[in-house]
Symmetry: C2
């Protein structure tokens, strides 16, 4: 059996891929188009927010000192000079011994420096307000610039923009933002035995699962996906397909063609492209041993195993973290059974998360490697690192959710 070129550990391979990820251009998009995208530069606030001192309660704008000493038994007494309207600058002024009705969000009128909640006041006649407790200067007021001040860095480059970030940017009037272009990623399935999904397999044939599973996973990572037609195990067809995909994308995921027997011409086809270099072929990883990493110019080709379960597991463990900077979703759970593994190899085991009285449990989904139905039942996977020889049942493990 021919030896692999160079068998790397999971972490070595991940680092190499990371270092060789293609650069991304910046594009400027309207605010809503930036949803779930990644900021390409730091964002500085152009203004103070709020832009004015505003009340955080429904009540009366007052001079705080005028309420000092007020109590239930000895209320203070203020004269009502008018009403602050939402959305406009108050024209009235609060003088000593005066107050003005102010709604939540209203702008504090000149002269006032606090707001007293309506619950702690009482209206006497048309223009007298009793105050039943004192307020401190600034109480119930959001100061100009208190939320965000002008010139402050609001978000750093690399931040994934979600609803609350979009909201904050909207409130600052930032309606066009620099985000990284999505990766354009081509998917090529290969294999003499692989047929299009809408065909009936003859004995010995299987349907092209990888194009669909990888496209779905890539889409969920925010990539722009291009699917290419199926390629037979044939050097010149593969070379031609790779060259086209290489021109049209930043990164190519090729599945099949990486294992013993057909790997030779996969490698040849990659190396025939200009400025091509095989970064690794073969990982001390299960599943996914025959994975290929290659750089062609400033772009990457990753050769995934042909088997759909291995291909998808390698996608989740090695490709997804490079493509998407969204937070990885991990939970702690108690392992239900002993898990053996081989030292000198990183193992990734699909698990089901079960809720149990003592907290979540991780139930490894074993059985013959390569059952698609197992992966479809899994909620995520656990990682048995290189140095470790198995994990005991009852230990707490980290589950990375799909």
């Amino acid at each position: 059996m021919p030896e692999f070129l160079q068998v790397l550990t999971y972490h070595q391979a991940l680092q190499i891929l990371e270092k060789n990820m293609p650069p991304r251009e910046t594009e400027y998009l309207p605010l809503l188009g930036c949803n779930q995208r990644v900021l390409a530069s730091d964002i500085t606030s152009p203004e103070d927010m709020p832009a004015f001192d505003r009340s955080t309660v429904d009540g009366y704008a007052v001079r705080a000192a005028d309420t000092f000493g007020s109590s239930e038994s000895l209320p203070g007494m203020l004269s009502l000079t008018g009403e602050v309207l939402m959305g406009s600058k108050p024209i009235l002024r609060v003088g000593r011994g005066q107050c003005a009705w102010i709604p939540t969000g209203g702008m504090l009128p000149e002269g006032s420096n606090a707001a007293i909640m309506v619950e702690y006041t009482e209206k006497l006649g048309l223009d007298t307000i009793l105050t039943y407790r004192p307020v401190a200067p600034g109480e119930n007021v959001m100061q100009k610039g208190e939320d965000v001040s002008q010139g402050e860095v609001v978000f750093r480059r690399g931040k994934v923009l979600k609803a609350q970030e979009i909201g904050l940017l909207a409130s600052l009037g930032l309606v066009r933002l620099p985000v990284f272009e999505a990766y354009r990623i081509g998917v090529i399935s290969t294999g003499d035995e692989v047929i299009p999904v809408d065909q009936i397999p003859l004995p010995g044939q299987v349907r092209d699962v990888n194009s669909f599973a990888l496209a779905a996973a890539l889409e969920a990572s925010g990539a722009v996906v291009q699917l290419y037609p199926l390629i037979k195990d044939d050097y010149s067809c593969l070379r031609q397909a790779l060259e086209k995909a290489w021109h049209e994308n930043d990164l190519i995921l090729m599945s099949g063609g990486s294992s013993v027997g057909v790997a030779d011409f996969s490698l040849q086809a990659i190396l025939s492209l200009p400025d091509a270099e095989v970064l690794f072929h073969g990982l001390a990883v299960k599943p996914g041993k025959p994975t290929i990493g290659a750089r062609v110019g400033r772009k990457l080709i990753i050769g995934l195993p042909g088997h759909p379960v291995s291909a998808l597991m390698i996608f989740y463990t090695m490709c997804a973290p490079l493509i998407s900077s969204a937070a990885v979703n991990q939970v702690k759970a108690r392992l239900t059974i002993n898990l053996a593994s081989q030292a000198g190899r990183d193992d990734f085991v699909p698990v089901q998360l079960l809720s149990a009285p003592g907290g979540p449990e991780a139930q490894p989904l074993l059985g013959k490697s390569g059952l698609m139905s197992i992966l479809a039942r899994a909620d995520g996977y656990i990682h048995l690192p290189y140095e470790q020889q198995g994990i005991k049942g009852g230990e707490i493990v980290t589950v990375t959710r799909f």
Copy 2:
């Protein structure tokens, strides 16, 4: 201060909304269009997978009995009759004392019932294979139908389809699937003080944060979003906008117009629509007390508070779970400080997740309610339930991630 119509608890309101969620039609989409959508019916497998007994290793197809007794010191001896090719039905037959080369995924030839890994064999000359260990019948073979058998329910109605489900469906040749139509959701922002985001606010005005933040959050939940122009606090404008949005959507999120003062004509406008019923107005929830729930025909209108932080928190806690059946992303963490809360009210407190030597910590983001910058720094929230009066620092809490 006018009383709210009927103040419900969080769970009561959630149940009422759930019961009144508009029905969803089923649509049939091509497989890739079903990514991250929800199955509208149970899916049954039309065929066995694999469709034939296949080898899970590179090696030799054998009759298991012929290997019995083989060992390192006393290898068995088989004669090689040929090679199984990927993607086609083998024409050869494995008789007693014979074997055939078979690649991973290859179809077991007639007569054979197991595969032996190439690592445990040695080739002598052109057509003799030594076997160094025995294999049991069925060993290294995935049986026909072992992954999925014909007629088996593969996925149940309600399942969210992700990459691994798409992969399994592809392998079964299911290229068009019934999924629920996405909810069409209209977003209407109201308020005299609210201006479009691309304008410079005059004193007292604020930009329309809610349209953007809610649209971003809805998009992430898989809804089809329609934004409507800003509406002033005016009964007839609001009524007209609601009627139009009601015709065009399954659900309307209206923000602003639910608090004291303007709530009256929001309710009036809703009740002027045909077959309209206010389900609740006012929740024992912080933030989000003035939330409105209403049913109009078989559609829903949810009136969110005008304040962006309250509006988004109510969206995450009450609307997102109804709109998306994707798994809620929750983690356990140790609360860093004591948190007071009022019994008889559900409190939702934004937190930051910090990694600490003893496991993740949840750091409440306090400060004046309504700072947008706080929400943008938060990773999720914790829920202090109705019955509970605060949580002590050091306790383990559940953080629901945004």
